[in-house]
Symmetry: C2
Subunit: 315 residues, 2 copies
Amino acid sequence: MISQVVCLSGGVGGAKLVQGLSYVVNGSDLIVACNTGDDFDHLGLRICPDIDSVLYALGGLSDQQRGWGRRDESWTFMAALKGFGGPDWFNLGDGDLATHVLRTDGLNRGKSLSEVTLNLAQALGIDACILPMSNGPIATIVNTNEGPLAFQHYFVREQCQPEVTGFSFDLIEAATPQPDIIRALGNGPKTVVIAPSNPYVSVDPILELAGMREAVTSSGAPIVAVSPIIGGQAVKGPAAKMMRELGKDVSVLGVAQHYQGFIDGLVIDELDATFAAEIESMGIQTLVAPTLMTDIDSKIALAEHTLGFAESLTK
Amino acid sequence: MISQVVCLSGGVGGAKLVQGLSYVVNGSDLIVACNTGDDFDHLGLRICPDIDSVLYALGGLSDQQRGWGRRDESWTFMAALKGFGGPDWFNLGDGDLATHVLRTDGLNRGKSLSEVTLNLAQALGIDACILPMSNGPIATIVNTNEGPLAFQHYFVREQCQPEVTGFSFDLIEAATPQPDIIRALGNGPKTVVIAPSNPYVSVDPILELAGMREAVTSSGAPIVAVSPIIGGQAVKGPAAKMMRELGKDVSVLGVAQHYQGFIDGLVIDELDATFAAEIESMGIQTLVAPTLMTDIDSKIALAEHTLGFAESLTK
């Protein structure tokens, strides 16, 4: 019996659901395809924020208060960097640096990003299969009223202030999906889950990879997304602001419209139950469930709801 | 009037005297030629322990209690590295990492080690001219009864336990001295100081560089060394153990023998005053002075004694 679950995920919000899924899906049957469009080189270090969010979540290392990075973190490196007049717009925690240094060293020694990620995950005792969407470099560009911005420049340096006009994904034409993702999709997985991540900058880069969208739709598995929008707001990050600036419905309706024709089901929050009928009329089944993940119990519950809902949709 | 002082220095002990010198020599008239034979690549980072000891000393950042590295240091990176099963034999402080990351990034962008070092020094407000002995890679090898060991493997990983049989300096034939050092020596400096650093693994690599020994001797300046051995013991590090294992006199006599024919004067500690006559009979002038540097006053005093002594020797 095929029991694999493939989850397409961005960073923090996605990582929360992935953590929930890791409690209800058996070990390496959980395959996580992580967005790498946010990845960038900083001070010569390769930084992969979404992979790291998933690693830290599954490794039990996430900081719950701050909402990103590692718990028990310290910031002596940043203080010293500032003392040298180094670039301080991107915060690198001291413990977080170990991830970046080990990854960069591995890549420089000729390992692929997936090998390096696997090594990091194994060292943390993670059984789930955490994979970069691609081993090739891809860079999400946020087009704004101030011109195109590399994702981290938009997200961190400019704190999402510029008005968004669209997105592009540099180097995506030359990149191929990580082969194990395509293999898992080809094996007839039980479910494909789209985590509650930013549709534009976390999920779209994954789906825009050559062959990825086709591999998902032809997998035969129900495709279920969890809305990252609750009550017209993003739980975290600029998704709602982006939707508004792009002239979309800033609601679960906008999410449904974005994924229309691709997903089979959408999990929406109880706050958004009134939208269910309209979404269903778009050919998307809905499940109304609590989608705000505030602790491990709510993560596991949402994972269970999502997988149960998917099972009810089995094609 | 030429007032430049060229100081050949290793790490911690040398850095203390360099700090003293920086109080009595005007700004960039102090030229420090730092040993780079201890430098190595670790986790993809270029680590230059002796340059960093001098940078931290002159930048007022040295940790006085620990005796190496930066004050107000934290160790979260090492804890995270261990959590990933990474190599933990070499301690990298969180603040110290900023130096290594900035240096490595600069080198990877095509800067020379002297440019990178200059940038770091300027950022710390250091006026003295801190230079690597060479921009080329040179690796001190400690030959031992357990076979040849890269310096940091001998020094840190093996904690200086293996018995030393000799030394070699990999790649030194292909390396050239840093040009500003040769230029300063050619300008007729006032004094050449050999800091109280390990003669075998801190000073010899500098002097073994093609043309360096000749540039020092033909500079016309008095060459004065400060003994790293006090009362038959090294203040810090394996110098005394090495002397014993190499069958040398473990005393200031051994130091004098090592530098005989090269230096004009040797500063020895009051504890070793009885050796003065024998050292003078070897053609080396001596100054007896307190050489243990425990605080900034004793560093400055030793710097003043050393320069005054050198002046009395003017050729």
